[in-house]
Symmetry: C2
Subunit: 337 residues, 2 copies
DNA sequence: CTGAAAGCGCTTACAG
DNA sequence: CTGAAAGCGCTTACAG
């Protein structure tokens, strides 16, 4: 039987009201009393029952994250790094972190409804946004706070962290051109993905400025997995004449592309350049190490949490938007020696 | 304002008692009434408030998983695959899944206390067990149900999934010998890890049966990350004469070892063999693809959940132990052509 | 500065 | 078969 506030009160001959207030740091409690209460509670191993507190306060002190259904596997380095950031920041602030992923049995929409309807979470973090995103709409309708990685279209205001890759892609393309790569291909994800459109847009813009033509046949969609990247790259490499540089929407896709290029017997870094996005730790250890645009995923996740909690606390000024500039890491996969 | 059980009762001119019972499928409710209630509740978008239910039932309907502090990063493919399995199985069964990881600010023990003391979880999943494991002790003391991946020493009974790699390692070593590898090295993890001891034990046993000597200098510990594997492998490869095959405690470590071998200019698969453990999806796409012992992490996680829920339901017979036999996947990293 | 009391939304003996 | 009532462990106006 866990220790309750009543036990603590009894021991001190106080009312539960006072104990509760002392523990919560109200200033209308004698500081002598407060000290006593805190000490005794600690001694007795009192830990507030969360369910009771939630019920009474009508707050869950919990933030949720639902793996986007588009994610074939949660196991992508991207998500783990991101989730680690969310979890750490939330834990540190005394919040709980609820995670779920859609399955064949339970779909994404149902999960949102469960959590929102059941008052299980005070807010949500949403990633992998689509240009039109029903999740954003739903949460706005339900009046549930959330923060997102990237933004969908529309003028709704909500806190988000956005990547601005324009300059980084320009740098990347200039590096590629300097190293003799001229026939650029792109393996993206589903086209409705904000990340797909943005990254492709930046590539096109940079290509324009550098007078590079991008063959439309060299723009292709995969599913953000290494297997998808592998298959897409195989297709690209079968085209004649074939591209000499493949930019991938993320590192995971690039891992598969590396594999395909090796299989074709191409010398990566001289005959073919391959580039990822995210700067995952794994990208340092591929053969050859992967050129990538590095974004601080862990920190981005922490920032999202902070933004969301700020919103919950009601300190919402206008739209809270954080811009992240990716950093170009040039490695062996694009380096003609 | 969300719909409560009271709203549903009012609408139907019933008491909340009856509504509650109808929804829970008690058999002392007229089946006519029950149908009505269920239909109306659904129509009105009623979703039970979890906090209230938890408080009343004194159950959280939540299972927790705390990332072991020994994990440098949650971002390891191993954990993601595992967590995906836990999450899917729990979500499917209507349970919530709480995740946390220790940080510099909040230590592992504190997290356990928070969850157990605060009644936040009904049970826990524990991984990466040590030979002596305080978590197991603590949970037994607190009388909190849990299930583990691998077992610590001692005779306590609790449900667990265990890998039995004896045969698979024998097969692996025979394959290595057949391919001309004779100087075996092992990059493990912290020595107190059950996985470290078991895997090394199986390797030693198989080596004995095949009359291979293992140089003690070739047994070395890293930290289960690719960076750790990279550094450890560099050290191993500097020894003269150097090992010609490196078995790693997991795939992640092996990724780093591959990198180190490439850097040294060794031809992997002919001059040096490298082997992982886990069979992560990433292992298919390394250069060369990685020989590994494949275990069905996702399924193992699902099984653990089922075992744990069975325990919660009180169907605990004797010790519930599942044995997993790894499958040897021979790939280019150990294949002399 | 402290306490008695109401109530968050459920579940569950108990009575009828 | 149905309902009135107690209570899970807290928080928080309100009174003193």
């Amino acid at each position: 039987m866990p220790v309750t506030i009543r036990d603590v009160a009894k021991r001190l001959h106080l009312s539960i009201t006072t104990v509760s207030r002392a523990l919560d740091g109200y200033d209308d409690v004698a500081s002598e009393t407060q000290k006593e209460v805190i000490r005794t509670a600690h001694e007795m191993g009192y830990i507030p029952n969360r369910a009771a507190r939630q019920l009474r306060r009508r707050k869950a002190e919990t933030i949720g994250f639902i793996m986007p259904a588009s994610a074939k596997r949660i196991a992508e380095p991207f998500f783990m790094e991101f989730i680690a950031g969310l979890g750490d920041e939330l834990t540190m602030r005394g919040y709980d972190f609820l995670v779920a992923n859609a399955t064949t049995h339970v779909d994404e929409r149902e999960l949102y409804q469960r959590w929102v309807g059941g008052n299980k979470v005070d807010g949500l973090i949403v990633t992998r946004l689509n240009v039109q995103d029903w999740r954003v709409q739903y949460l706005i309708e339900q009046n549930v706070p959330f923060a997102t990685l990237e933004r969908s279209n529309g003028r709704a205001i909500y806190p988000c962290v956005q990547v601005d890759g324009e300059h980084a892609y320009f740098e990347l393309l200039r590096h590629l051109v300097d190293n003799g790569y001229h026939h650029i291909a792109f393996i993206g994800g589903p086209v409705e993905l904000v990340n797909h459109q943005n990254r492709l847009g930046w590539i096109r813009k940079a290509a324009g400025e550098l007078d590079l033509l991008i063959d439309p046949a060299f723009i292709i969609s995969a599913d953000l997995t290494s297997m998808g990247g592998y298959q897409a790259a195989k297709e690209l490499l079968d085209i004649t004449p074939r591209p000499d540089a493949i930019l991938c929407i993320d590192d995971e896709t690039a891992f598969g592309a590396l594999h395909a290029a090796h299989e074709k017997g191409l010398s990566i870094g001289s005959e073919i350049g391959i580039v990822g996005f995210d700067g995952t730790l794994e990208s340092q250890h591929t053969e050859p190490p992967l050129t990538t645009l590095d974004i601080p995923l862990y920190n981005m996740a922490c920032r999202l949490v902070r933004m969301l909690l700020k919103t919950l606390a009601g300190h919402t000024q206008e739209a809270d938007v954080d811009k992240i500039i990716p950093e170009l890491h040039i490695r062996g996969s694009t380096h003609r020696s």
